[in-house]
């Protein structure tokens, strides 16, 4: 199969911008709302998610000729659940703080539509390397998206960014940005998560609307210009004919 140049790069980048799983496809919303109280927790969630996504995509792609049509979904679910359990145990052993912060949401990666969706839609049809790149792009895109949500929630909700509580191997520090007493703790609550998500989606819709408007405007202008040109040409022709008639 011949591939166009730069395919791998495009394949990677599509997960981050054009097909961002959270902001464009609106998938995986549960952890995006539940684990975005702090940037650190969101980063941890994104990391675990990416690991599961990559592992399951690669394995599904490896086994794609072995797994027949009927047993696709159960086989994929078993594969995903296996990696989630392994990741859960590893987290519990080596990052216990992350484990207790995320709690049941580590197990819930199993039912995250993105993982099953990528396995069904991409990894089951493509080569191992392409699936790996696709999964990496999607994972990074999702991680960046939930970090963006956590950024606003932590900034407005607590007025500061604190690190080192979950990843205990880095020294703990706190970056106070909004003075104490001026934070809006609503943004740490569930309601704040919904509002932040709504505003981000609205901004994206706004930008898209703008783009579309510009596009249609340009098209309309081009159309008008074309019409005018045609009109001008017709008039010139007419004038020419009239002039020719007069000379006759």
């Amino acid at each position: 199969m011949a591939k166009e140049k730069g395919f791998t790069k495009k394949n990677f980048l599509k997960g981050i911008v054009v097909e961002n799983p959270l902001f464009v496809s609106i998938l995986g919303t549960c952890p995006a709302l539940a684990t975005t109280k702090t940037v650190e927790a969101a980063l941890g969630m994104g990391l675990l998610f990416t690991v599961v996504l990559i592992c399951s995509s690669v394995l599904v792609s490896l086994l794609r000729k072995l797994i027949s049509e009927e047993i696709r979904t159960p086989a994929y679910i078993v594969i995903i659940a296996t990696f989630v359990t392994i990741v859960k145990m590893m987290t519990s052993a080596f990052l216990p703080e992350l484990y207790s912060t995320l709690g049941v949401f580590i197990s819930l990666i199993v039912v995250n539509c993105i993982v099953l969706g990528r396995a069904e839609a991409y990894a089951s049809k493509n080569t191992v390397f392409d699936s790996f790149i696709d999964a990496l792009g999607m994972g990074v895109g999702y991680t960046l998206a939930i970090i963006l949500m956590a950024f606003f929630r932590e900034l407005i909700g607590t007025g500061a960014f604190s690190f080192g509580k979950i990843f205990t191997f880095i020294p703990a520090f706190k970056l106070q940005i909004i003075p104490v007493g001026y934070e809006i703790s609503l943004f740490q609550n569930p309601a704040g998560a919904f509002i932040v998500f709504a505003i981000i989606l609205a901004v994206i819709a706004f930008i898209n609307n703008r783009k579309n408007e510009l596009k249609t405007n340009l098209e309309r202008q081009a159309k008008i210009k074309k019409q005018q040109e045609a009109k001008l040409k017709a008039e010139q022709e007419k004038a020419k004919q009239v002039a020719e008639g007069e000379t006759k």
Partner: protein, 199 residues
């Protein structure tokens, strides 16, 4: 009597105060995806109640009487998701055979339930939190009814929102999310509802 009261309290608190969608964030995907029409959200909600109850009744004994004695409690997530996936299939077949009309209205939502976090979340939470069977049942019942309640209410609001004059950028999902936020704030007010009751 005391058991009965605590059973009822557990149902109400997991249904309203600690609502599955608006404060625990389980099942957001169907909450946003299947709530455009009241009828479809009702179908989805009822199907979820069905599957969550069955999953609770099966997963709790399976964990405590099979997995733990056999020393393979660490396989819980894999077992739960398999139980849920096959339950969804079975419920689908059962309804198809005995009530084709019900299948017509519920059938399309059944496959979506496998990837609904509420089901796995309840099954996993019950055993992770170490609840007793009765409390698990209360948790399952309250959670699923809470889901039904919220998704139907939300779809009613959304049908009205369609005809409302919202800013262009907020049309569709963003304004629905803002609505959900306001609903979440309303439910926050119910915290401490039972503080007067002494057990």
């Amino acid at each position: 009597m005391q058991i009965f009261i605590s059973f009822i309290l557990a149902i109400i608190s997991s249904m309203l105060i600690d609502n599955v969608v608006l404060s625990r964030f389980y099942g957001i995907c169907p909450f946003l995806g299947v709530s455009k029409k009241v009828k479809s959200s009702l179908g989805m909600g009822i199907a979820v109640v069905f599957v969550i109850l069955l999953a609770t009744v099966i997963c709790w004994p399976l964990y405590n009487y099979v997995l733990v004695p056999a020393g393979i409690a660490f396989l819980d997530t894999v077992v739960y998701i398999l139980v849920i996936a096959s339950l969804v299939q079975l419920v689908g077949l059962f309804i198809k055979k005995y009530s084709p009309s019900l299948y017509k209205s519920l059938g399309i939502y059944l496959p979506l339930i496998t990837t609904n976090c509420a089901v796995l979340g309840v099954a996993q939470g019950n055993t992770d939190q170490g609840l007793s069977f009765l409390d698990s049942l209360a948790n399952g019942l309250g959670t699923s009814i809470g889901f039904l309640l919220i998704i139907v209410t939300f779809s009613c609001i959304r049908t009205r929102l369609d005809s409302a004059n919202t800013p262009k950028a907020f049309k569709g999902l963003p304004i629905a999310l803002v609505t959900a936020a306001i609903m979440a704030i309303a439910l926050m007010g119910l915290q401490g509802l039972f503080s007067g009751i002494k057990l």
